[in-house]
Amino acid sequence: MGLFDKLKKMVTKPIEEKDKNVVELYDKGLKKTRDEFVSKLSLLGIKYTKVSDAYFEELEELLISADIGVNTVFTFLERLKGRVKKESITDTNYLMEVIVDELFIIYVNNESLSTKINMNENGPTVILMVGVNGVGKTTTIAKLAYKYKSMGKKVAMIAGDTFRAGAVEQLKIWADKTESLFYGRDNTDPAGVIYDGLEMAKQNNADVILIDTAGRLQNKVNLMKELEKMNKVIERIIPEAPHETLLVIDASTGQNGIMQAKSFKEITNITGIVLTKLDGTAKGGIVLAIKEEVDLPVKFVGLGEGMTDLQTFDIEDYIYGLFKDMM
């Protein structure tokens, strides 16, 4: 059964109450995104009833406008054209179903993807947040803390961003709001803060330790080295930690997102991506390119400013959110 059929089922079959909330959240968060993207795609189906070169050109424009990534779009279109030829597809309405299917394939690529967070059975689970400046690392930590707190976990936050003015205070405020343990000092070596913070969290029997780091552009060698050092310190105190290293990426990021993913992956063992600010008009298509070119899956998406607006990423929900109006 193709994804398209599955999605249709999701629309028609009664959805369990809990699932429905999640679907609705995606639906709401992606509304602006979808409005533009889908209405254009639907218009395309009205404008061209038959598949043609002009159709493909406009489709290319649409996909590139979604930041899906130039290389990814080009190989995607090649594959699509191949299928059109092989299966003699002429109807653009039918082709739309194929498009959804193929987009899904880019992301899934025969793997069984897990968005599961690797929890440590024998002690605290350490989650390290990294990313370039201004993507929303600190806010994501707050949302994660809220999530684990509601699951009955004892959460600790460590303010590893000792560089940006106000960063420690910002995290401290979130720690107070989510009733999490907190450790932070201004203007010091981040590795030292993390060392002391981990000791504190361990002594207080925290279940989940969330570590914030300063925003760093991936081409700044010294800052990337600093990240290596932090990792060493973490591992020394809690073996096998960090259990998750999440790269936070802003949904409005363009092609540079691929380079961010590549560079961070080289330096640290990135286990997944958090795609933030998806409630704007940006389509976050870069995650498809990142999956294809760097093979990093998305684990969470930020769909709004509320504390509950961080959701486990579900590719079906994501594509459903994009294409709902077409079905």
Binding site: A165, Q170, T253, N256, A282
Partner: protein, 435 residues
Amino acid sequence: MFEYMGDRLSNAIKNIRGMGKITEENITDALREIRMALLEADVNYVVVKEFIANIKEKALGMEVGKSLKPDELFIKLVKDELVSLLGGDYVPLETSKNPTILMLVGLQGSGKTTTAGKLANYLRKKHAKNPMLVACDIYRPAAIEQLETIGKSLGIDVFTEGKENPVKIVRDALEYAKANKKDYVIVDTAGRLQIDEALMQELKDITTEINPHETILVIDAMMGQDAINVINGFNDALSLTGTILTKLDGNTKGGVALSVRHLTNIPIKFVGDSEKLDGLSEFYPERMANRILDMGDILSIADKVESVIDEQEAMDTARKMKKGTFDLEDFLTTLKQIKKLGPLENILKMLPGARKMGINNVSINPKDMAHIEAIILSMTPYERRHPDVLKATRKQRIAKGSGRSVEEVNRLLKQFEEMKKMMKMVSSGNMKMPF
């Protein structure tokens, strides 16, 4: 930042070299490469389309004369188009009103607060202003503290009034500014989505209250195709007077720079190019186009050097270089001046042909510079003036004093000798500078 784009373009253009004239066939590849390069740089799709059509039309209509080769003509055409795309002449910041009011707006995380600090620093340094910062981000936790910390480190006043009402904050701030002879008021606002109607209304209310002379959109240079929706959204609501592109010190290709001006006619006034509070440079389309085409950015370097280097010292050094009497003492002075320029990588990147020489992506460990400095500082002034006297025992003492090894001391002395030789050659005209 723009380096990659330059690479693609120069590769594409190479193919036309040696052709007798420009025909549709021989520019097809070049045009395709340019199109790809621009799309990969996040230049807006519409702009790319227009750009390519424009170049094609003009290139085919070009007369290939005897003096200019087709690839040279083509490169000039691409560059001219880039310059016009980037916005023609530089539009300076309004500074004449008393007080001049500037408001920064933008999405969350674009860098407004840091930019506010940089602007205040720039206005004080370059325009001898007495600026004041106003903290209007009442939503993000610790945003006000962040601005206060920045203001403190610069010694610039920050007006704060809690987290109640931004309109009242700006009104009171303006009164305070007038009473305290502040001639430039920079308002830092909260980050918001351009589709958030309630928060956009708040910006409109602030605008009605204080009528800012400059309303500037701070935009992340890493933004993709959605940039245009953001720019249009803010511009429709507020009538922007300019934009500032931030985080250009990353390796983003920054195609958004090409889109902003062309699609909206809003000038780019500054670019943010380091995390430090002096990391704000005026935006010059001509220079940026040169940079894209790998023609280097000597003018930007000259500006930077001028702003931090003592002219008298520099002239003394130059004279000594010529005469060949340049010693380690002078070297130390030069080293200190270079350090003031900020990360050396940034300067190297701007040199013409940086990529060809492979120095566009070098990383220089600031520690290496510190080691060199430590070694020289461990010498006596006499030794610095007369490095010839440095023999084994003196070297050992210097190594100990600086905490480095004797090998490192030797290496430094050798490099210094070679440098001196080079200087003599350059000044006697036997060698051309690499640029």
